[in-house]
């Protein structure tokens, strides 16, 4: 821990991007990052940012995210967000958030039926506090994707007010409606941001790009100003 601002990565059995996300959180200035085991409830005010990482929570049994949504950590998430926490759901984290009905829509199997692992180009189309700033709009970021159930579709029965700040640019790799790559919802004083691409894998430069740095640094600065 190198700072006094508390950020956490929720761990489920089967999470496999938890280490990557924690490594990124720990490298950010002023952030004290830690794991949070899924069986432990999340208390209001406990964390400034809560990361729900990629992987295969509970083996993706039944539907990706369907079992994880029942965990104690998820039960307290809505109240924590209303009180001001910012949730970042990446890949399986996105699936868990739609299964929990905190975000609208659903994630279907990729149109190709295949697991896709590649760098994806993403066009920034809207602000999403604290992750995307106005100055980012119009930029094209490259984040890796690695999923089989990333085909995002809207649902007519969802009344949640959410926006789509990131879209696949050029190729739509998984068949998502309109090429949506991320969904964002403000809730009370906090927010939920979920995306299939992995910004934490585009941070240290090993994947030939480091576009994720801006994404995470935005949040560090924006939340500090709030």
């Amino acid at each position: 821990m190198t700072g006094n601002r508390s950020w956490a990565v929720v761990q489920f059995p089967g999470s496999n991007c938890d280490h990557d996300l924690l490594k990124v959180f720990k490298s950010l200035p002023g952030i004290a990052a830690q794991y949070h085991w899924h069986e432990d409830p999340i208390e209001v005010g406990q964390y400034e940012v809560i990361g729900i990482p990629g992987g295969f929570s509970f083996g993706d049994y039944l539907r990706a995210g369907a079992i994880a949504k029942l965990s104690n950590a998820l039960k307290g998430l809505e109240k924590a967000v209303e009180a001001g926490a910012h949730v970042l759901g990446i890949c399986n984290g996105f699936q868990i958030l739609v299964e929990s009905r905190l975000l609208p829509g659903y994630l279907h199997v990729n149109q190709s039926l295949r697991f896709i692992s590649k760098n994806a180009a993403l066009e920034v189309k809207a602000e999403a506090y604290p992750w995307i700033q106005k100055e980012d709009i119009g930029k094209v970021w490259h984040f890796p994707i690695a999923h089989r159930f990333g085909n995002y579709q809207k649902s007519k029965i969802d009344a949640l007010d959410a926006s789509s700040p990131l879209y696949y640019f050029g190729e739509n790799p998984n068949g998502s409606a309109e090429g949506i790559a991320a969904v964002y919802r403000q809730l009370g004083k906090g927010s939920l941001f979920a995306l299939m691409p992995h910004p934490e894998r585009a941070f240290f430069g090993e994947t030939r790009n480091a576009d994720g740095q801006k994404f995470f640094e935005n949040a560090v600065k924006a939340v500090a100003r709030a």
Partner: protein, 84 residues
């Protein structure tokens, strides 16, 4: 309390494309089952449980389907008690 056998069938709502069913349909065509018109891939859960009576067993099955077995946004479900 008596033991009942429940059959919970979960299937995609109308209008939701099922790429897996499409792939199976195409494969059946390749095998020259040319009269096949449609394929659906459902999930079937066979559940044994104790309940007061048949209505109670169905009520519990519906509750399970709504809370876990199905995704309310993309799937419908049917619950049936199997006769002994």
């Amino acid at each position: 309390m008596k033991t009942f056998q429940l059959k919970v069938r979960v299937r995609y709502k109308d209008g939701i494309l099922d790429p897996q069913a499409e792939a199976i349909f195409t494969a059946l065509q390749k095998l020259e089952f040319r009269t096949v018109e449609r394929v659906e891939c459902d999930k079937l859960f066979m559940i044994s449980l104790k309940a007061e009576d048949e209505a109670h067993a169905i009520s519990l099955g519906r509750d399970m389907a709504q809370k876990l077995l199905s995704s309310v946004v993309m799937e419908n479900f049917e619950v049936e008690v199997l006769k002994p």
